[in-house]
Amino acid sequence: MALMKKGLSAAVKATLLVTAMLVTACTHTVQVDGEYPQPVGDQYPLTVGFYLSDDFSRFTYHEDSEDRDEWNISTGPAQRNLFATVLGSMFTEAIPLTSYPQDLPENVELVIVPEVRELQFTMPRETRVNIFEVWIKYDMHAYDNQGAQVANWVITAYGKTPTAFLKSQEAALAQAIDIALRDAGATLYTGFDRVPELQALVASKQRAISMQEQPAAEAGDTTD
């Protein structure tokens, strides 16, 4: 009887092991870790704080639908690097915030908080085009130093990569995500002053700076 129980337990274990192996065989994991360059160009004349939450920095997209295998795509570390680099260099002064809205430095004029709204991807066999495509949508929130909302805008990023011989689906998708993140950074930098509220803020700051500089220049002229 004990021998039978032992045999049954071994059979159950083996079945569980095989099932686990079959299930994990259909699970794809993608980890994107990227370093991104600083944008080349003028800085916006603002002192900005940016808050990259834990949810944002550890973001993992999980998909387990009937039509597809199971996918776990971690973009958190890469998007944290991207936003920290781009936001950190596109303003005259940028302060990374470890918490928000607590402990806000006094000199901060604007606080930017990004959130991931959506991530989508397509595989070559689904579109019959030999490319992997990725779309990422970010909700961008901007607040003043009192916590009042200044602007909300959306950044849509797109990345694609061709299929390549001996390249895994995971590697190809990671590459497409990396391109999409670069696209997000490009849109963040080039599209910042196309948001009407932010355009007005930048313009009023530029006016204030030029008015401050004008009397100083005039004073310089009179002393000469």
Binding site: Y36, P37, Q38, P39, V40, G41, D42, V129, N130, I131, Y158, K160, T161, P162, A164, I179, R182, D183, G185, A186, T187, Y189, T190
Partner: protein, 220 residues
């Protein structure tokens, strides 16, 4: 013995490729000492993607500092000018490049690299047809594959050479390559691969070299 024969046969015989190059020169190329060239892939189409390895191949084939051809690697250049040469932001026309040059920091960076020409390559290599089948099996006596497979590949690339300093189109060239690969399998699959993309790359690199160094070509 059989293995060695198979390896030699595979190395000696490969699929055939035909390459056709068309070119149009507006102005002859002129590279002075310290000038550099950057080769970039167009990535704005939603239906295909100019392969980074093709751009890398053309760049490596052309790079020859001893002859005065200094090629800046694509990724290095795109990173150094981020975010102005990303698929969404890259200038599609010379007028857009002119607008981009109004950005002082971008202009300074480009001038620091000594860029004379920007070569844009647009196109892709695709499998146009395939036929046949190969079956493999494993048994107690061993493993083996039997069958025959064939596929056609077609490369279609166009290169536009922009003179960055004079802000004009210096020339255009197109490379079309076609080839058929075969894979007979008698126990062991023997791939006879037509290197379509590689041959398109070599053809384009040779024509670009003639364009960039016209005097040296005529001398030799």
């Amino acid at each position: 013995m059989v293995k060695a024969f198979v390896v030699i046969l595979a190395a000696a015989v490969s699929g055939c490729t035909t390459v056709v190059i068309d070119e149009y020169h507006r102005t002859p190329g002129e590279l002075a000492e310290g000038d550099s060239v950057v080769i970039l892939g167009r990535r704005h189409s939603s239906e295909y993607e100019t392969e980074p390895d093709l751009i890398d191949c053309v760049g490596r084939s052309l790079h020859n500092p001893d002859r005065g051809v200094r090629i800046i690697p694509e990724q290095h250049f795109v990173d150094a000018l981020y975010p102005w040469f990303e698929p969404r932001t890259a200038p599609l026309h010379l007028k857009s490049l002119d607008r981009l040059m109004q950005n002082e920091k971008v202009r300074e960076r480009l001038e620091a690299y000594g860029i004379k020409y920007i070569v844009w390559i647009d196109g892709s290599t695709e499998t146009t047809a395939s036929a046949g089948s190969i079956g493999c099996s494993i048994g107690t006596g061993g493993a083996g594959c039997f069958g025959f497979g064939t596929w056609d590949k077609e490369s279609d690339y166009e290169a536009a050479v922009w003179d960055f300093r004079d802000q004009e189109l210096s020339g255009k060239l197109a490379a079309d390559a076609k080839g058929t690969s075969y894979m007979p399998a008698i126990v062991v699959p023997i791939p006879l691969i037509a290197r379509v993309q590689k041959n398109a790359c070599k053809g384009m690199a040779a024509q670009l070299e003639q364009f960039l160094l016209p005097e040296q070509e005529t001398k030799s």
